[in-house]
């Protein structure tokens, strides 16, 4: 029998929240990937978005504000066979957790990061988040935003993520496919999801996005994949970047870039640490049948002997 990926917990997001669509897409993607109950884990930070792991019937962690990525990295590096998903808000991943967001691009550990992009801090009642443009004033703000915005897609491309995409929470069919592709990527995937927050953000509504989004894949010539045999990878990277900068009138969704030539962090470690991928930290024996250590300090630290 196929695993039921939904828990029976009551979901406490506001009615009409874009988070529901993301959850649905995730659940469908996990099902279609045919994962067993022990194959994947879902890790989050704190925020409305941070509640997601509790709604998914997989092992999960709802960690600290901004710290989903480092926790998930620890899980993945200790047990690389696990598929590790991260759900985080725009405040969580791009403000308090921004350092981890950038570092993860450099690592390319193999996480599937889903960014709940609602341009506000939902759970703390609607303050401006890092993706809200300068001068914008939602109903939750007492004056227009005095910060400028960062562009998560461009930032992910610059940081080095090997898979960068954008979805829309009210297009679950497309989002599900993007998540599946992200899960199949060996390195880390960043999926920016346009997620209306009807409670605090009266500007970036479902209608706002419906009028603007278009799918990159609708252009039949769009090919975001870079492999060893790609003739001009830099050209593709440039194109992805220029698409990433489109906003205002028309907002692209779909896959901006999938670079299969960047080795994942786990593969990099495997080059140096003996048998890392076949005997990762989580599966190693640490004691013998009598409970004593199996490490030989004399041979391991022979250089310290006089």
């Amino acid at each position: 029998m196929a695993h039921n990926f939904r828990t029976d917990l009551a979901i406490d997001w506001c009615p009409g929240c874009g988070d529901f669509g993301i959850l649905t897409s995730m659940i469908q993607a996990l099902g279609e990937m045919n994962y067993g109950p022990q194959d994947a884990v879902v890790i989050s930070g704190i925020g409305c978005s941070g509640k997601t792991p509790h709604y998914v019937n997989l092992a999960g962690a709802h960690t600290l504000h901004g710290r989903g990525i480092p926790f998930a990295t620890g899980v993945k590096l200790a047990n690389p066979k696990l598929k590790v998903l991260v759900t985080g808000g725009d405040g969580d991943l791009l403000s308090i957790g921004a350092g981890h967001f950038v570092a993860e691009g450099r690592r390319n550990t193999g996480l599937t990061i889903i960014l709940f992009d609602n341009e506000v801090y939902g759970l703390t009642k609607g303050q401006a988040s890092p993706t809200m443009p300068l001068g914008m004033q939602t109903k939750s703000l007492s004056k227009p935003n005095v910060y400028n915005r960062v562009n998560p897609v461009a930032m992910a491309l610059a940081a080095g993520y090997s898979f960068v995409a954008r979805g829309f929470s009210f297009d679950t069919k497309q989002l599900k496919e993007i998540i599946k592709r992200g899960l199949m990527n060996d390195g880390s995937s960043l999926i920016d999801v346009l997620q209306p927050c009807p409670t605090y953000n009266n500007i970036n509504t479902m209608e706002f996005y419906r009028q603007r989004v278009y799918k990159l894949e609708d252009d039949k010539s769009w090919d975001p994949i870079i492999t060893e045999s790609t003739k001009d990878p830099m050209e593709k990277y440039k194109l992805a970047n220029s698409k990433a900068l489109e906003w205002d009138e028309k907002i692209p969704t779909g896959i901006f870039m999938e670079n299969r030539t960047i080795p994942s962090f786990t593969r990099r470690l495997n080059e140096y640490i003996p048998n890392y991928l076949t005997s990762p930290p989580a599966t190693q024996a640490i004691s013998d049948s009598k409970g004593y250590t199996i490490v030989d300090p004399v041979r391991t630290f022979a250089d310290k002997i006089v």
Binding site: R67, T73, A78, G99, I273, I294
Partner: protein, 632 residues
């Protein structure tokens, strides 16, 4: 067995090969069968500023350093200036005779405050503001000068143009010959430190020969100190000890963000990532290595280690004051979510960046209280290199047994102390098996059906469970229910009571010396060795005292400490901080107020002699509080 007890300070510019001299001397002593103990003092600087190694060699066990040194070896003029206060009657000052006219004003790498103190001493004594002036000053304080023509000796030995590249070897070799260490041991040491590099070994051996010859010809060479049987031993720092212990204790994942004096431990682990297994059964079980990850910051380091821990991997991180401050929220999270996690906290002089490369013990109260909210933790501390090894195994065990953050304190002085360790016992500590779910029914990570407060810990990849920094129910889902909240709080704190009862008292506090002595010196961390020796010396002088040495601060051995301190008439606390933090912990837990305090907060290591002196001043009723000042 021949007699030997010698203290040497060898100084030179940071990055100028002072470690080579120190390594050469330690090994030469070791190859002659003597015990050694040394520590390294250096600035937060890569090249140029004054750095020195204080080393002591002895025919019997040595566990502390003494002032004034018997020998001061200056590999640069700065050393002579910097150590102006360290000369006692008979201290031999060995230096390059070409330093004599070096001006203090040219010693730009001496910190301005230090230079001005040096200047005023020279001026007060109407001495020239140069090395000659300082040497005069040293002579008037009992110093015996040994000007050595460094360049001339090296040129006799080798002719490859850059004589000063051999000054480290020469300085060490001259010193060793003056002490009476046999030439063979020194040569063996050269071969050992330059292992296999024939091109380097050959000229260095020539320099050693020439140094010994010079000492002989000029009647400087000491009477032979003889040679004792040499054991096959480890020469280890506190950092090494912690790394070895962690690996033996089953550590397979460690994170770190570079910081002095903690990151050496992670670098050592990384250098030994290809673990070697014991023979027999172990060899069939062992596979893979240890994974060390340099993270983007310490927040990531603590949280990443927590994530790895939840896969069932024994995980840890190591840091120092500033990084530890950043870890506070993560530690609270590990406490709330019952994550087995070891944080090795290398204490240095704070607050803020403080004295980044100097000693301090000012993070004890912080370690006991890091992180918001109330959660259980274990806080233990090591006092010598052996303890660093076995305590690191214990720390990993405690983390698994009680599923909580374990903070293991090691001070900078101990991290940088080098000791000979004869053999490591692979059967001294067992590795606890984790309490794993039995697979029956729905798995509840935070099951309340537990006597000791410890619920079965599943792992990612094997079980489905949740964890959340929010208060949670048995499955690990968020709750704000009043009754569940109380039950989970009580469950978590039950573990502390169990730990307090299960962990033997000798792992928490130990008495050394005469059990019936009426004077008790209470201390912790790297003062352990110096305090034990100080008590021996004092007892011989008729001041009978003993040591109460603290190893664990949470759970605290309240009953034991209260009993021991009430029995004594005079209690003296010795700590490397300003507030007497351990004394505060003792008072908080037992009500016993220790009003006699010997404190040190200049960032340098505590020496045996200043401790002896401090205790005397207190016992003689002269002072209640003594601040120790030794160290350049």
């Amino acid at each position: 067995m021949t007699k030997l007890d010698v203290n040497v300070i060898i100084g030179g510019p940071q990055g100028g090969g002072i470690d080579t001299s120190a390594n050469l001397m330690s090994r030469a002593f070791a190859f002659s069968g003597f015990d050694i103990f040394s520590t390294r003092e250096f600035h937060s600087n890569i090249k140029g500023r004054h750095s020195y190694v204080h080393i002591r060699a002895r025919d019997t066990k040595v566990q502390g350093l003494k002032y004034p040194p018997d020998i001061l070896v200056a590999l640069d003029p700065d050393t002579i200036f910097e150590h102006f206060e360290d000369i006692g009657k008979g201290t031999k000052v060995i230096y390059d005779s070409s330093f004599a006219t070096s001006e203090l004003s040219q010693a730009r790498m001496i910190m301005r405050d230090t230079a001005s103190r040096i200047k005023s001493v020279l001026d007060e004594n109407k001495l020239e503001n140069n090395v000659n002036g300082m040497l005069e000053y040293m002579k008037s304080h009992g110093g015996i000068l040994f000007p050595i023509p460094f360049e001339e000796i090296v040129r006799k030995a080798v002719d490859d143009g850059v004589p000063n590249r051999y000054y480290n070897t020469l300085g060490a070799a001259i010193t060793l010959s003056i002490i009476g260490i046999e030439l063979e041991s020194t040569k063996e040491a050269i071969k050992h430190i330059f292992g296999g590099k024939e091109k380097v070994i050959a000229p260095n051996l020539k320099v050693v020969d020439e140094a010994y010859k010079y000492a002989q010809d000029n009647k400087l060479a000491g009477e032979s100190a003889g040679k004792n049987a040499k054991l096959s031993q480890f020469l280890l720092t506190g950092n090494d000890g912690a790394a070895i212990g962690k690996l033996m204790g089953g550590l397979r994942f460690q994170t770190y963000y570079p910081i002095t004096p903690a990151s050496d431990e992670s670098s050592i682990l990384e250098e030994h990532e290809a673990v070697k297994w014991l023979s027999g059964e172990a060899e069939t079980l062992g596979s893979g290595g240890v994974t060390i990850v340099q993270t983007e910051d310490e927040i990531s380091a603590v949280v990443m280690a927590a994530g790895a821990a939840m896969t069932g991997t024994r995980s840890a991180t190591a840091t120092s004051g500033p990084g530890f401050s950043l870890m506070a929220e993560g530690i609270s999270f590990a406490g709330m979510d019952e994550i087995p996690l070891v944080i090795t906290l290398y204490q240095r002089g704070g607050p803020s960046t403080g004295l980044p490369t100097r000693n301090g013990q000012s993070d004890l109260l912080f370690a006991l209280n890091t992180g918001h909210g109330e959660f259980p933790r274990i806080v233990l501390s090591s006092g010598d290199v052996r303890e660093c090894i076995y305590d690191s195994i214990k720390a990993l065990n405690y983390a698994q047994r009680y599923q909580l953050p374990v903070l293991h304190l090691i001070d900078k002085n101990l991290a940088n102390t080098t000791e000979l360790v004869d053999g490591i016992d692979v059967k001294k500590e067992k590795i606890y098996g984790r309490n794993e779910p039995d697979g029956n029914g729905i798995y509840k990570r935070y099951s309340l059906d537990t006597k000791d407060g410890v619920s079965a810990m599943g792992s990612y990849g094997k079980n489905i469970f949740w964890l959340t920094g929010d208060e949670h129910d048995e499955l690990g889902h968020v709750t704000e229910d009043t009754v569940m909240r109380e039950a989970q709080m009580e469950k978590r704190f039950r573990k502390v009571k169990v730990a307090a009862a299960e962990i033997p008292v000798e792992e928490k506090a130990v008495i050394y010396g005469d059990k019936n002595a009426k004077i008790t010196i209470v201390t912790w961390g790297s003062q352990k060795g110096p305090a034990i020796e100080a008590a021996e010396i004092l007892s011989k002088q008729g001041i009978n005292c003993r040591i109460l040495y603290l190893r664990m601060f949470m759970p605290f051995p309240s009953e034991f400490v209260e009993k021991e301190l009430r029995a004594g008439q005079t209690n003296i606390i010795v700590e490397s901080n300003m507030l007497g933090q351990a004394a505060q912990v003792i008072r908080m837990n037992t009500g016993v107020d220790i009003s006699n305090r010997i404190l040190k907060y200049n960032g340098r290591h505590v020496t045996v002699d200043e401790l002896v002196d401090g205790v005397k001043r207190i016992v003689q009723g002269k002072e209640k509080e003594v601040v120790l000042k030794n160290g350049a």
